[in-house]
Structure formats: C-alpha cells, structure tokens
C-alpha cells in the first residue's frame, strides 16, 4: 500500500489536512470574506455580544472580532511557516554536517544542541524578544532560532545510518564531492522525518506566537493576532466571554490540525512506527 492510500485511510490525519487547507484558504481570502475593516472602531458597539451583525461580537473599541480573527489566521500561518523554515534550515545544515563528518565537528555541534536544550525555550525567546522590540519579523526569527535542535538531532541520526549505505559508498568511490553526496544523495533520503518534525513544529510555533502576543511581547496591536485578542479577553474576564473563547478555539483547532497532519504523515510514511 502506498503513502497516499495509507494516509487517506487515517481519518484523524485527513481531518488534520482539511483543517490546514481550510486555514490556507481563509488566509488567502481574508480581504474578500471579512465583513468589516479589522481596525474600524465603532463606539456605538463596544463589547457587543455575538449576533448576526457581529458573529463573534466586538471588542472594547467596537471592532469586529470575527474580522480580526480572520486576519489573525494569516498572521499565525506566516509566523508558523517562516519560524519553522528557519529552524528546519539550521537543523538540516547542522545535522547533516554533524552526521556526515562526525569527529570533533559532531562533538561541538551536539554539545551546542545540549546547551540550547537546557534553556527553558520560553525564557530564552522572551529575553531576546524583549530586547529586540517586538515585531512579527523578530518573533519569527527568534522562534526559529530557538527551535532547531530537534531537527538537528533527527537529521544527524539519519545521516549516521545513511552514510554507511552502499549507494553513498559507491558515490564516494566515484569521487563525488562531499556537498554533492550530502545534498543530492543523502538528504533526499532523510527528508521524511524532517517533514514530520516540521509539521509538528508549525503547531508549536503557532502556540508560542499566541502566548507571546498574549503576554504583550508578540504581535503588537493594532495588528490583530489571536494571542492579543486573548489579552483583551483577560482584561474583560467575566464581561465579554467571546473575547477569550473564540480566539482560543481558533488556536486549539489550528494546532490540532498541524499535530494530526504531522502524526498522520509519520504513520503513513512508516506504518511500523504507528503508536
């Protein structure tokens, strides 16, 4: 049975894929489907509860929460993908070098991984962002720069086993250069677990971004993000439940989607790993 037929037999995985695709669609179509301007202040409709006019109610400036959440979807998607892109790039490069060359290079890189893993990553991210002036770009960069360690270990392990295989030894015997062997021959064979790890990574990047924005050091208002809408939810606790309920559900569903998709891909790639 091939990858796709295994994947599509897994109902949870398909559910994850549907959620992720829906998020892409929503982000692409936001300007067309959003009923209001995300920053249009409406003083007559402050903290209005959900109704036909305002599906998810309004916030303390009378802005439409549904509209702001649609825009927030795009932001979390962007942060998730760019952060994971950075982490994957670093992880693949360091892991490949570490696994392929071994020796002291490997030792130094692995020691560095151990050191980075000792930091409560949220502490490190907060510390850096606080000094950098919070902006979407900085958040993406910092999340990426603090989450490459898992992928490095993964790629290294793949390289350790793949570099002894016959096809690699044959390439070496024919005099292929190290970069050629690494990128053209070994890496493509090591990408499957990276893909899984990257998908799960998007989930955690989305969670971290929302937590940072919630604490006020992530995406800055007036730019809407699910996290900073939740900050308003905290200040109106017991008054406007819709400001905390809907954005939280959106985060939950998004993260769930990426987690299900990632696990689904893993199971479909290698059914033996299935839990």
């Amino acid at each position: 049975m091939g990858f796709w037929s295994r994947f599509f037999r897994d109902r949870l995985a398909v559910g994850g894929l549907v959620i992720v695709l829906a998020l892409f669609l929503i982000s692409a179509l936001t300007p067309f489907i959003a009923p209001y301007d995300p920053s249009a202040i409406d003083v007559d409709n402050i903290l209005a509860s959900p109704s036909a006019g305002h599906l998810f109610g309004t916030d303390e400036l009378g802005r439409d929460v549904f509209t702001r959440m649609l825009y927030g979807a795009g932001i979390s998607l962007k942060v998730g993908f760019v952060a994971v892109g950075i982490a994957t790039l670093i992880g693949v490069l360091l892991g490949a070098v570490s696994g392929y060359y071994g020796g002291w290079v490997d030792m130094v890189i692995m020691r560095f991984v151990d050191i980075m893993l000792c930091f409560p990553s949220f502490f490190l991210i907060l510390a850096v962002i606080a000094f950098l002036e919070p902006s979407i770009f900085n958040i993406m960069a910092v999340i990426g720069l603090t989450s490459w360690m898992g992928i490095t270990r993964l790629v290294r392990a793949e390289f350790l086993s793949l570099k002894e295989r016959d096809f690699v030894l044959a390439e070496k015997a024919m005099g292929a250069s190290a970069p050629r062997i690494i990128f053209l021959h070994i890496l493509p064979n090591a990408m499957a677990p990276v893909l899984v790890s990257a998908t799960l990574g998007v989930a955690s990047a989305v969670l971290v971004e929302s937590a940072l924005s919630f604490l006020g050091i992530g995406v800055q208002p007036p730019t809407p993000s699910w996290g900073n809408i939740l900050t308003q939810g905290q200040s109106t606790l017991g008054v406007a439940w819709w400001l905390s309920f809907y954005p939280g559900m959106a985060i939950l569903i998004t993260v769930l989607g990426y987690n299900l998709l990632g696990e689904g891909i893993r199971d479909a790639i290698d059914p033996r790993l299935r839990g």
Partner: protein, 324 residues
C-alpha cells in the same frame, strides 16, 4: 555507579559554561539597553547622566571583560543588583521567589506522573478499544490546547462565575490571622488552578509516551514467557511490563522540566503568583539586565539539575545504563 556519576558530573561543567556564554551573548548583543529604558521614562535626563548610569552598571566596558566579571561574580552567586527602584541584589530576589515556583512545578510533575502512567497503561493494554480511542483524542487536544487560554477559561468559569476558586495571588486577605490548617487550605485553593493547568499540557505527551513504551514492552519475549508460565494478566502487566515501560518515562520527565519552567512565566503572570516566572516577566518589561541574566541562568541550572536527577534515577533503575 560512582564512575558513572562522576562522568555525568564532568559533562555538566562544559554545558554550564556554554549556558553562561549563551545567556550573556543573547542579552548583550541585542540592541536596547537598560539605560535607554530609564531615559525613556525620564525625558529630562542628560547625555552625561546616561554616561554616568552606564558607568554605574559597568556598561562602558568591552563585552568580554563584562562576561568575565559576570562569571566571577556568578561563582559567588552574585548576579549584581536589580535595576528596578528597590536596587536589591538579584540573587536575593530570585531566592525568595524560587520555592514557590519549584513547589508548583514539583506538584505539577507529581500530578503528571500519577495521571499519565495509568492512562498510558490502560490505552496500551486495551489498544484499539473505545477507551483507547477516547484517550487518544484527549491526548491530541491536550497537546494542542494553549495553556494560557485554558487558564483564562477556568478563571472565568470557576473563578469569576462560580466563585469556587480564587484567581490571583497565593494568599487571601487576612491570611496572617488564619490557623495553620486554614492557611494550608488557603494556599492549596490558590495553587489548585495553576498547578492543574500547567500539568495539563505535559500530561498528554507523557501518557502518549507511556502508551508506546508499554506497547513496545508487551511485544517482548519475556512478557510471552511470563504469560506462558501462567502468571495472571494483572501480574504480567503491572509487575513485568509496567516496570520496564516506566524506565524511558523517567528520562522524558526530566526533559519536561524546561517546558514547565518556561510555562511558569505564563501561568505566574496570569495568576499573579510571585514566583520566578513572574519575576522574570517583570524584569523583561523593565529591561532589568542583571535580573534577566540571573533568572535565565537559574532557569537553565534548574533544567540541568532536573536532567541530572532523571539520569541518576534512570541509572539506579536500569543497571545496563551504568555499564555502557
């Protein structure tokens, strides 16, 4: 055992030095200085006064000198003084906040352990059953739910609407006048939500891990042997399988320490708990260099200790580790 322990401790040293370098680099290479914060707060400040402030905090020295000075002081647990108005030594501030954060995290870990192990064992033993599938769904949701949101919802529901639990701080008003029993109860009521919610996130991962560890063990030959010699299913599962399945979980529990400590920033801020996380968050808001570096270092050291304890526990439980 002793040799293993010494070897393990020897690795700690370079790791610790690495930690201090990373801490230092992160904070000192980033733009933005504590003096700029003070300058922003006070528009009348002169350039000369800023220079004087910089000299006062040693910021006019080159980076490597500042690092060496910092490490030398670190050996004496001297992280310098806080830049905030009280100007107290950073270590004093951290010291008084540590017990509460450590207690919350230890309590969370105990709960994680007590709940996730049975969940994992049950879903492995009844693999594919309705119960297993429900636990799987619960696990996925647990993985995905943002902890701070869960905290908000619980505060709203249990705290504000039903008024069952207090939602901020660790003591009620008039705490000093309570008897010892009432005090303990008061503290427990304040900590219930933060502890449960910070446990919730790791619970999912841990029970998933326990489940696959268990499934792995059940396939082993010695389990077949145990069944073949006619042991009851109970004895097979709990005496033979579970004990072995627990081993790798010890390591994972150690690995979950940084997550818990990192999470304490969020939960302590939400619930206004005066712990290390809240101290760190306030320090960041004030760009309190010394305080941030101190907390970051202590956070990493706690992680290092957590991993060390897990490693030692693992080697005590599994002699194969010591031998290799």
């Amino acid at each position: 055992m002793l040799r293993y322990l010494l070897k393990r401790l020897a690795i700690l040293v370079p790791t610790f030095i690495g930690i201090t370098i990373v801490c230092f680099a992160v904070i000192h290479l980033a733009p933005g200085e504590p003096t700029s914060m003070q300058a922003e707060l006070n528009p009348k400040i002169t350039p000369e006064a800023i220079e004087q402030l910089k000299r006062h905090y040693g910021l006019d020295q080159p980076v490597h000198i500042r690092y060496l000075v910092w490490v030398k002081n670190l050996a004496k647990l001297d992280f310098g003084t806080s830049i905030s108005a009280d100007a107290r030594p950073v270590w004093d501030k951290i010291k008084e906040r540590l017990p509460i954060t450590i207690s919350i995290n230890v309590a969370s870990m105990i709960i994680i352990f007590l709940v996730s192990i049975p969940l994992g064992v049950i879903s492995a033993v009844r693999r594919g059953s309705l119960l297993d599938r429900s636990i799987t769904v619960f696990v996925f949701i647990g993985f995905s739910v943002p902890g701070f949101w869960l905290a908000l919802i619980c505060m709203d529901f249990l705290g504000v609407r039903l008024m069952w639990l207090p939602i901020s701080g660790i003591h009620s008003q008039g705490y000093e006048h309570l008897g010892p029993f009432a005090r303990a109860l008061d503290l427990a009521r304040h900590l219930a939500l933060p502890v449960l919610i910070s446990a919730f996130g790791s619970l999912a991962g841990m029970s998933r891990y326990m489940r696959s560890s268990m499934l792995e063990i059940i396939r082993q030959d010695y389990i077949l042997t145990a069944r073949a010699k006619g042991l009851s299913e109970r004895a097979v599962i709990y005496r033979h399988a579970m004990r072995n399945a627990l081993l790798p979980v010890i390591t994972i529990l150690g690995l979950s320490v940084p997550g818990l400590i990192g999470g304490s920033v969020i939960f302590e801020s939400i619930f206004s708990i005066p712990g290390l996380g809240k101290l760190f968050y306030d320090g960041i808001m004030m760009r309190d260099y010394n305080l941030i570096m101190g907390s970051l270092t202590i956070g990493a050291v706690l992680t290092l200790l957590g991993n060390l304890i897990a490693d030692i526990a693992y080697s005590v439980a599994d002699p194969r580790i010591r031998a290799s």
